[in-house]
C-alpha cells in the first residue's frame, strides 16, 4: 500500500516536472519580432533583439550550461571565473565554520539558561533584543571591527545560527521531565553527570530540532552575505553572473543552492532521528 503510494507520488512528481520543463521551453522559445537594424547595432544588441530569441534562457540552454559546469566543477581562472564546485565549497566552509562556532556557544549557554532560573531571567532581555536583529545588519559592524570580509561572513553565519539553537536548547533542558531528574537525584547523581546522562539525552531531540532550523537559516543567509562582501562563494557567483547578465548561470546557481540546502537539512534530520527516543 505505502510502496504503491510512493510509486504514484513519484509518477506525479515526474509528470509535474516534465510539464514545468515543457511550459518553460515553450515560453522561452523565442517569438519576439525582429527589429530592423544595421548589422553593427545588431551585434551590440545580441540575439535577443536580432533573432527574436527570448531573454530568458530555456531549459535546454540551462541543461547544456549545467553539463558544462558539472564536467569541470573545480577550475580556477582567477577571481571572477571559478568552478561552481569551488564557489559552493567556499560557501559550505563558511557556513560550516560559523555554524560550528554557534554550536559551541549556544549549547553550553542553553544548558546554563535551562538549568538555572537565575541566568534564564538575567539573560532573557538580551536574547529578546538580539534575536530579532537581521543577521545582515551586523555586517557593517563586523567588517569595521574584523576588517576581513570572509571572517565577517562567518560571523554573520554564527550570529544567525546561534538563536534557534540557544532557545531550543534552553527550552529542551528546562522541559526535561521532573521524574527523570528525580531519578537522578535519588541516585545521588552529581550535576555534571546528571547533565550528560539525563538532561542531554532527554533534551537532544529538541536541541537537534533547533540545530536543524539553524542550518536552514545559515544557508539562507550565506547567499545574501556573500553578495554583500563579494570575493568568493555561491552568493558572490550569483551576483557576479547577474552583472555579467548570464541568467543561465543564475538559474543554475539557484538550483544548486536549493539542492545543497536540502542536503544540509536531510543530514540534520537524520541526526535528529538518531537521538529521538520512543516513549
Amino acid at each position: 500500500m505505502t510502496s504503491s503510494l510512493r510509486l504514484r507520488a513519484a509518477i506525479v512528481s515526474i509528470a509535474l516536472f516534465a510539464a514545468f520543463l515543457g511550459i518553460w521551453h515553450i515560453a522561452t522559445r523565442g517569438t519576439g519580432t525582429v527589429a530592423n537594424m544595421t548589422p553593427e547595432y545588431a551585434k551590440l544588441m545580441g540575439l535577443t533583439a536580432t533573432a527574436g530569441k527570448s531573454a530568458m534562457p530555456g531549459p535546454l540552454d540551462v541543461g547544456a550550461k549545467l553539463w558544462e559546469h558539472l564536467k569541470s566543477p573545480f577550475y580556477d581562472n582567477g577571481p571572477n571565473d571559478k568552478g561552481l564546485g569551488i564557489q559552493l565549497g567556499f560557501s559550505i566552509a563558511r557556513v560550516g565554520l560559523g555554524y560550528f562556532l554557534a554550536v559551541i556557544v549556544a549549547i553550553p549557554l542553553g544548558f546554563l539558561i535551562g538549568m538555572s532560573p537565575l541566568f534564564s531571567k538575567a539573560l532573557d532581555p538580551f536574547i529578546q533584543v538580539l534575536k530579532p536583529i537581521s543577521p545582515l545588519a551586523w555586517m557593517p559592524l563586523a567588517l569595521y571591527t574584523i576588517k576581513d570580509s570572509s571572517i565577517s561572513a562567518i560571523f554573520v553565519i554564527f550570529i544567525c545560527s546561534v538563536w534557534p539553537m540557544l532557545l531550543n536548547t534552553s527550552f529542551g533542558v528546562a522541559a526535561v521531565r521532573k521524574e527523570w531528574i528525580n531519578v537522578a537525584r535519588t541516585l545521588e547523581v552529581g550535576t555534571i553527570r546528571r547533565a550528560f546522562t539525563v538532561i542531554l539525552p532527554a533534551a537532544a531531540p529538541t536541541i537537534l530540532t533547533g540545530m536543524r532550523i539553524s542550518i536552514g537559516i545559515a544557508w539562507l543567509v550565506i547567499v545574501a552575505a556573500e553578495m554583500l562582501v563579494g570575493g568568493t562563494g555561491i552568493g558572490y557567483f550569483v551576483w557576479n553572473e547577474w552583472n555579467n547578465l548570464s541568467i543561465t548561470n543564475v538559474i543554475i546557481a539557484i538550483l544548486l543552492i536549493g539542492i545543497v540546502g536540502m542536503l544540509l537539512d536531510q543530514i540534520l534530520a537524520r541526526f535528529t532521528r538518531m537521538v529521538t527516543f520512543p516513549e
Partner: protein, 303 residues
C-alpha cells in the same frame, strides 16, 4: 534503636496560599517504623501522602521538623532510600539493562562494566525479566516497566524502599503478581519498606502496619492499624482469614466516614502518641443495625 529505624519527628509542610497566607498540608506529624517492617499509608487523594513520601525520600523538604533514618537526620536524597515511582520513571533512551545499570554505577562508581552488568542482571532476573534486558521501555507493558522500576530500586540494596502508589496504573492481574513479587522480595531480604496505596486489600496483604491519614488540608495521622493476619498469608485466600473482614471493615469505615469527621470529633488527639489499633474478632460487624450504615443528614431528619 531498632524500634525506630525510620522516625518522622514533628514534620509540617506548608505552601504559600492564594491570599498571601499559608496552606498547611499537615502539621506536627509523627511516625516511626522499626527495621524490616512494611508500612502502608492510606488516605484520600490530596491528604499529603506523596508529600510525606517525598520528604522521606529527600526530594522535598519539611517546613518544620526532621526525619531520622538509622539514627541520622536525613539531608536530601540518598542511595540508602530507593524510590519506586508511580509512573515508573524509566529513562526511555536506555534499555532495561541500561536503566538498572545506571543505578548500579551511580552507587558503585568504581565497578567495571562486567561487574555492573552481572549485578544488574541479578536484579533483572529477580523481578522475572530475564530475556528482556535489551528492550527499551517503550517495548514493555506497564507491568514490565514497573518491574524494571523495582529492579532498579532493589539493585542499589537500599536500607529503605519508598513506593508511591507503585501499582495503581496497572491492571488487577498484573498488580496481583507484582504484589506477590514485592512481598516475596521484602520477606526474603528483610527489606524495610514504606508504601502509599489507595487499595485496601493491597495494604492488608503487604503491610505490617497501616497508617491512616485524615483528609487534608491539615491532615493528621489518625491511627496506626497493626495487621493481625499471619506473616505467611497468601494473596489468594486472604479473605478466608477470620480476621480479614474485621480489618478490612475497620479501614473502609475510616476511609468512608471517619477520615472526614476525625478533626471535628476527636479533640484530644496527640500526634506524638497515635493510637495503635489491632482489629480483632470483637470488631463491630453489621448485625442488622441501621446505625452502622452511614446516614445522610436528610435521612436522619426524616427518622
Amino acid at each position: 534503636m531498632t524500634d525506630k529505624f525510620i522516625s518522622i519527628e514533628g514534620i509540617a509542610r506548608r505552601y504559600p496560599g492564594a491570599d498571601g497566607g499559608q496552606i498547611s498540608v499537615f502539621e506536627d506529624l509523627w511516625l516511626s517504623m522499626p527495621r524490616g517492617e512494611f508500612g502502608c499509608v492510606i488516605g484520600h487523594s490530596g491528604c499529603g501522602k506523596t508529600t510525606v513520601l517525598n520528604i522521606l525520600a529527600g526530594l522535598d523538604e519539611p517546613s518544620e521538623g526532621a526525619v531520622i533514618v538509622d539514627g541520622q537526620a536525613i539531608e536530601g536524597t540518598s542511595l540508602d532510600r530507593a524510590v519506586i515511582f508511580q509512573s515508573h520513571a524509566l529513562l526511555p533512551w536506555r534499555t532495561v539493562l541500561g536503566n538498572v545499570s545506571y543505578a548500579v554505577t551511580s552507587k558503585w562508581r568504581k565497578w567495571d562494566r562486567a561487574k555492573v552488568k552481572a549485578h544488574a542482571q541479578k536484579f533483572i532476573d529477580l523481578v522475572g525479566l530475564t530475556g528482556s534486558e535489551h528492550k527499551r521501555p517503550s517495548e514493555l507493558s506497564g507491568g514490565m516497566k514497573q518491574r524494571v522500576g523495582i529492579a532498579r530500586a532493589l539493585s542499589i540494596t537500599p536500607k529503605i524502599m519508598l513506593m508511591d502508589e507503585p501499582f495503581s496504573a496497572l491492571d488487577a492481574l498484573t498488580r496481583g503478581t507484582l504484589q506477590d513479587e514485592v512481598r516475596r522480595i521484602c520477606l526474603e531480604t528483610g527489606q524495610t519498606a514504606f508504601m502509599i496505596t489507595h487499595d485496601v486489600d493491597e495494604a492488608i496483604y503487604l503491610a505490617d502496619k497501616i497508617f491512616l491519614m485524615t483528609n487534608g488540608p491539615g491532615a493528621v495521622l489518625a491511627e496506626i492499624v497493626e495487621n493481625p493476619l499471619p506473616k505467611d498469608r497468601a494473596r489468594i485466600d486472604l479473605h478466608r482469614h477470620p480476621l480479614y473482614y474485621a480489618l478490612r471493615n475497620h479501614i473502609v469505615d475510616f476511609l468512608v466516614s471517619r477520615s472526614k469527621t476525625f478533626a471535628a470529633t476527636v479533640i484530644n488527639h496527640d500526634p506524638r502518641n497515635v493510637p495503635i489499633v489491632r482489629p480483632g474478632l470483637s470488631e463491630p460487624t453489621i448485625v442488622a443495625s441501621p446505625k452502622m450504615i452511614e446516614t445522610s443528614p436528610a435521612q436522619t431528619i426524616a427518622r
